[in-house]
Amino acid sequence: MQAFTQVSGVVLPIDRSNVDTDAIIPKQFLKSIHRSGFGPHLFDAWRYLDEGQPGQDCSIRPLNKDFVMNEPRYQGASILLARDNFGCGSSREHAPWALSDYGIRALIAPSFADIFFNNCFKNGILPVVLAESIVEKLFQAVLATPHYQLTVDLNAKQVVTPDGQQFAFEVDEFRRYCLLNGLDDIGLTLRHADEIKAYEAQRKQSEPWIFGVTQ
């Protein structure tokens, strides 16, 4: 996994609440058996005027000029600013894959849906929760200032504005450690393989039916 220490970049504002993972990456792209190649289809139904198909050349598709992501000032964004309950709905990890493939490394919102929040950390994306009032201020600043940039610093656990304001955020220590070091969860967990085995042995005594054959 790609490590995350600090990201500075253009902020893309998605000014609506309850953005679901169907919107982030529509179902037709879930047929892929790979983890990459989803970036051109990020927000596909909002971003293009035609209906997207897997494997097509997106550079020749008609763009929806009204969708914020297509505005020149937001090109190359690496930070996404959003409203409440971002990433709700389907558990599809294709959503963070699409965000990361597009180049988004950090998300800022007042709240995120649980499964999506989790999935981000597994893909080197940092979802940052800031108070609604701060998010509102950031939206205003982004809309007022072309090419507005923020810095998201995981080491210092803060978001820094161009004029030096700092907003602290919380993140679980374990997740922070994994993200800072780009660590693979599975490798870490397998260090506790003996504990898992011991637990399993005890459950085999107390609830043997769990370990029956599924045939």
Binding site: K31, C88, R92, N118, D172, E173, A193, E200
Partner: protein, 469 residues
């Protein structure tokens, strides 16, 4: 005396392998359900790292999202076909129990788990699918996970997670005739919102919940995720025990007795404290219809489209306005005046035998309205389909003008050919009315199976209570 504990707490404690000082825990996973869409990258990851499966007999696999509901012999779309074949290959390679296409036990993963007794009380159940919450109906701790976590569970039999807060939603009293578990679910989401359950594990309790069948409880827990909850659950009682008994993967003989004794303890103790409580009166719940693009945008069938101007919160108001534009609806319009194009009865929310019976009861001796372009009945599994056919339900559906299809997710998300065309409006028993969910620019209204049947007959939304008398 021991401190009274919640059901969630009991399930959590009995599965913690280790806990870090920051609250992050490693919990043991008893059952892992696998389907074709969210597993290929996980298998690929295992292969690349050369890691074995930790416990192959914890896994049960089936293809459901991409499967055609007409001819199951061939998947015409080569991309869908490759995904289903990839699952078959991976299951063969790792010796995983799979119900492949054509097997009479194949179906939607959340229907077949309980049907087979592969979901049992007291288990932790995961699946790379958000509606895994369904299995909580059995007093299991059931959670949807992402593909990286699917790989993690395959390799370690554990999940890294944090303890959730507890929310008890109590529904007391008796549900009126024509009001179903689906309406209860929508009423709860309408009340607490689609983010109301974020960070919580919900326990559904109260006399109205206790009187639900297992099918009804599954419908309810299925939609816990639409309230943003990490899990939904219902305590064990006689209904649970009776449902599980005799299922293929359930314990038998002396082991059954031991299991049953333990399962009976899977209830929240009297006096157990929850982080939050929400209460609803069953008698006040009416048949509901969603009008917008989020399950919380819901009103009674005899109600009207709400007016965004009356909403004081700007973000919410804009959300309502956007939803109305997308749905092509105007404030003040009566729900019963909304004409529909298609009807879908199916999905992991409402495709079990009880759902099909309830819809058939409304459809018996009637025909779908002339403006209905397509009405689909899609059973949740091959076994549900066979049972329905044995009861003659297929005949009722077909005589009413419905198409009687083979099991799968079907038009719930339209990864196969079952889709809405742009602009089409559907009365659907599924769980999500998001923009484009049932096809690009499609318009979805979520309802119960009875209400979908009533809408099919009327051609527009109609109060099912008038039809069933």
């Amino acid at each position: 005396m021991m401190k009274p504990t919640t059901l969630y707490e009991k399930l959590w404690r009995s599965h913690v392998v280790r806990e870090e000082s920051d609250g992050t825990a490693l919990i043991y996973i008893d059952r892992h359900l696998v389907h074709e869409v969210t597993s290929p990258q996980a298998f690929e990851g295992l292969k690349l790292a050369n890691r074995p499966l930790w416990r192959v007999n914890s896994i049960l696999a089936t293809a459901d999202h991409n499967t055609p509901t007409t001819n199951q012999e061939v998947i015409a779309d080569p991309v869908s076909r490759l995904q289903v074949e990839t699952l078959d290959k991976n299951c063969a390679k790792y010796n995983i129990t799979e119900f492949p296409m054509g097997d009479h036990r194949q179906g939607i993963v959340h229907v077949i788990g309980p049907e087979q007794g592969a979901t049992l009380p007291g288990m932790t159940v995961v699946c790379g699918d958000s509606h895994t919450s369904t299995h909580g109906a059995f007093a299991a701790l059931a959670m949807g996970i992402g593909t990286s976590e699917v790989e993690h569970v395959m390799a370690t039999q554990t999940l890294i997670t944090q303890r959730a807060k507890t929310l008890r939603v109590s529904v007391e009293g008796t549900l009126s005739k024509g009001v179903t578990a689906k309406d209860v679910a929508l009423a709860i989401i309408g009340k607490i919102g689609t983010a109301g359950g974020t960070g919580f594990a919900i326990e559904f309790a109260g006399s109205a919940i206790r009187s639900l069948t297992m099918e009804g409880r599954m419908t309810l827990c299925n939609m816990a995720i639409e309230a943003g909850a990490r899990a939904g659950m219902v305590a064990v009682d006689d209904t649970t025990i009776q449902y599980v008994k005799g299922r293929p993967f359930a314990p038998k003989g002396a082991l059954w007795d031991k299991a049953e004794a333990y399962w009976r303890t899977l209830v929240s103790d009297e006096g157990a404290l929850f982080d939050k409580e929400v209460k609803l009166e069953a008698a006040q719940i009416e048949p509901l219809v969603t009008w917008g693009t989020s399950p919380e945008m819901v009103v009674p069938v005899n109600g009207h489209i709400p007016d965004p101007q009356l909403e004081s919160d700007i973000t919410r108001r804009e959300g309502m306005e956007r939803a109305l534009r997308y749905m092509d609806l105007t404030p003040g319009k009566a729900i019963t005046s909304i004409q529909i194009d298609k009807v879908f009865i199916g999905s992991c929310t409402n495709s079990r035998i009880e759902d099909l019976r309830a819809a058939a009861q409304v459809l018996k001796g009637k025909r779908i309205a002339a403006n209905i372009k397509l009405a689909l009945a899609v059973p949740g599994s091959g076994l549900v389909k066979a049972q329905a056919e044995q009861e003659g339900l297929d005949v009722i559906f077909k005589e009413a003008g419905f198409e009687w299809r083979n099991p799968g997710c079907s038009m719930c998300l339209g990864m196969n050919d079952d889709r809405l065309s742009p602009g089409e409006r559907c009365a659907s028993t599924s769980n999500r009315n998001f923009e484009g969910r049932q096809g690009a620019l499609s318009r979805t209204h979520l309802v119960s199976p009875q209400m979908a049947a009533a809408a099919a007959v009327a051609g527009h939304f109609a109060d099912v209570r008038a039809l069933i008398g």
